[in-house]
């Protein structure tokens, strides 16, 4: 019986090839879109997390407890002193971790006496910072910071924003460690571009030596970023914490993991996962409308045939089943093509990426990624999308299929 129904359904599918193809194409489009978008979002999410570590926080930060409480205001007077920095350095080295002491100043940058634009000026030790952060690898013009030369490393974004270039002098207006206003001119020696728009749009870098002389940091730092050997927090965080606890003179220190520091992003990331759900709903609507429309048309067109089949003695549930087989066929075809198209689109984006520069030039979408978007593979989603396409096709066909057997046989036959 099932075999007979399958043959009948298959022949009915072939009966209206165009309609079958059109409905399947709509499903294919939705499935392919889901796979591709999911791949892009997955990449954007993972890349953002990688970039939070590479460009913003390292794996975790050591700072004073006071600083942690007020970290969003970048307090430059809540610092680790030289002795503490050296102790942390030797503890970190013991566990094969790299450290980068930094002090962030809330500042205004200006050029040619124009209005100042807010930036965070980070004072860094160039000999240590590049081992934790990838800023050095991101220099596109000029040179990276050098302890023997005063200079500022700005982003390409900042360069455009201030309309400056290498060799120009810009003014940093900020408060020193002792809460006095200071304005200092510094020559632009390098321009960088990272894939992290938060860094590019907000951060510039000077040497800690320059800060010591001009901003009264005196060898201190507000934070020490730590990069672990395996790029994971544990077991290093626990070990370093334990070591800090044991060591005298470090009791006022605490740690902030990159997850804590980047919790705003992680919250956003969670909500962005909702985007996949919206696409799933979108596909559900496409599939539902397509299948219901196709099946209703089939039911109306075949009223007489359905009546005849029932007159011949076929049970109603088998009539319903034959329609379900048909829509499952459409769903199978659509999902299969959709997965293939999705894989092709994903493969292209994985290999070459897509340039979203014009769309994302001045927009912050929250991801810590550049304007070239890549995809990642997500086989689970591909399988899920395939099953989803077929399942939805089957589910939404039940209503029109049941409609097929609601009419009286006598009415159907004489339709």
């Amino acid at each position: 019986m099932i075999k007979t129904l399958l043959i009948l359904s298959w022949k009915n599918l072939k009966r209206h090839t165009k309609r079958t193809v059109i409905t399947s194409s709509a499903i294919s489009f939705g499935i392919a879109l889901l796979i591709w978008t999911d791949g892009l979002l997955k990449w954007a999410d993972n890349e953002s997390k990688r970039n939070l570590i590479r460009y913003e926080f390292g794996n975790f930060i050591i700072c004073t407890k006071d600083f942690k409480q007020d970290k969003d205001n970048f307090p430059v007077n809540k610092v680790l002193n030289k002795r503490q920095i050296n102790k942390i350095k030797s503890i970190a080295e013991k566990y094969n971790c790299y450290i980068a002491p930094r002090t962030g100043f809330k500042s205004f940058l200006s050029f040619n006496r124009n209005f100042g634009i807010p930036y965070i000026v980070y004072a860094v030790n160039p000999d240590l910072d590049f081992k934790v952060f990838k800023i050095k690898n991101s220099v596109i013009k000029g040179t990276y910071l050098n302890n023997n030369e005063d200079g500022i490393l700005i982003s390409e974004y900042c360069k455009k924003n201030l309309n400056v270039d290498i060799g120009d002098y810009i003014t940093i207006e900020t408060k020193t460690r002792y809460d006095t206003y200071q304005a200092v001119q510094v020559k632009i020696t390098g321009i960088y571009r990272t894939p992290d728009p938060v860094v590019d749009r907000n951060q510039v870098f000077i040497t800690s030596k320059f800060a010591d002389r001009n901003l009264q940091t005196e060898g201190t730092a507000t934070i020490i970023a730590v990069k672990t050997e395996n790029n994971k927090n544990e077991p290093y965080l626990s070990k370093i914490k334990a070591a800090i606890k044991k060591e005298r003179g470090l009791s006022n220190l605490t740690e902030i993991t990159w997850q804590e520091a980047g919790k705003d992003y992680l919250l956003l990331s969670r909500s962005k996962r909702g985007a996949s759900k919206i696409i799933i709903i979108f596909i559900f609507v496409i599939v539902a409308v397509g299948i219901v429309n196709t099946m209703l048309m089939a039911v109306f067109e075949r009223t007489k045939e359905i009546g005849m089949l029932r007159a011949l003695g076929i049970r109603d549930k088998y009539v319903v089943l034959s329609f379900i087989f048909e829509s499952a066929g459409i769903g199978l075809l659509g999902s299969l093509i959709g997965v293939i198209l999705g894989i092709i689109a994903n493969a292209y984006s994985v290999t070459y990426g897509l340039d979203f520069s014009s769309a994302l030039k001045d927009i912050d979408i929250g991801y810590r990624v550049g304007t070239i978007g890549y995809n990642e593979w997500n086989p689970k989603m591909m399988l899920g999308a395939f099953i989803f396409g077929i399942t939805i096709s089957i589910l939404v066909s039940i209503i029109p299929a049941r409609k097929a057997v609601k009419l009286k046989i006598t009415e159907s036959v004489n339709n």
């Binding site: 022949k11 009915n12 045939e305 005849m308 003695g313 046989i409 036959v413 004489n414």
Partner: protein
């Protein structure tokens, strides 16, 4: 002792197409013997099709009983049970042939046997034999739209009798055919009745068709107004 294939007792059927109830059948009493070739005649709206539908378990009476092979089928409320009765006992021929357009001639006929669960080999043998008997040999692989009206009705005839039903109900089987083809179809039905002893009940208002019948039951306004038997 006579064996009645069909028996209708005090049969009533009302329809409510709008606000006014239409009384399609009023107190119809009828017995059909096994092997009879019966015509139900009468003008349009006299209740011919309604009576066939009730005998064929396609509809249920408002009042009264229908027996098929002495089983009171009109009391069945279960759709599946009625479907099984139709599948195992009744063949249908409609005026518009009602073939399944996506199936070939062979598949249309064989489909009924598949429904019954007839083994494939036996089904094939029965189908091919019957197609030969109804004059469709060589057309097995054609689709309905590749056949003439007469050929399509032959397929419908083959489909109705391939499962060896207790009774075949034909609702105006020649209404969509020209007179020559119609006569050929009636001859075919008559021959099958004689050769296989299948009971046929058909509705018609065609004089030519009536001449093949052994028994003519005339309906008017939902009532039997005459029941004439003729020599076979």
């Amino acid at each position: 002792m006579k064996k009645y294939i069909v028996e209708c007792r005090k049969l009533y059927k009302d329809y409510l197409p709008g606000k006014i109830t239409v009384k399609a059948l009023k107190n119809v009493n009828l017995k059909i013997e096994e092997g009879e070739f019966t015509a139900i005649v009468g003008p349009s709206g006299s209740g011919k099709t309604t009576l066939l539908n009730l005998i064929g378990c396609l509809d249920i009476p408002t009042k009264g009983d229908v027996f098929l092979n002495n089983i009171l089928v009109s009391s069945y409320k279960d759709k599946n049970r009625l479907a099984d009765i139709r599948r195992d006992n009744i063949g249908f021929i409609f005026q518009t042939f009602n073939l399944i357009p996506v199936l070939t001639v062979y598949e249309n006929v064989n489909f009924v046997l598949n429904l019954k669960g007839t083994p494939e080999d036996e089904g094939r043998r029965l189908t091919l034999r019957l197609l030969k008997e109804v004059g469709l040999k060589g057309l097995e692989d054609r689709f309905p739209n590749e056949l003439s009206g007469g050929q399509q009705q032959r397929v419908a005839v083959a489909r109705a009798i391939v499962k060896s039903p207790a009774i075949v109900l034909a609702d105006e089987p020649t209404a969509n055919l020209d007179s020559i083809t119609g006569e050929k179809i009636m001859k075919l039905l008559s021959d099958l009745n004689k050769k296989k002893g299948i009971t046929f009940i058909f509705s018609t208002h065609d004089e030519m068709v009536m001449k093949f019948a052994h028994r003519i039951i005339k309906l008017h306004d939902g009532k039997i107004v005459s029941d004439i038997r003729r020599k076979k």
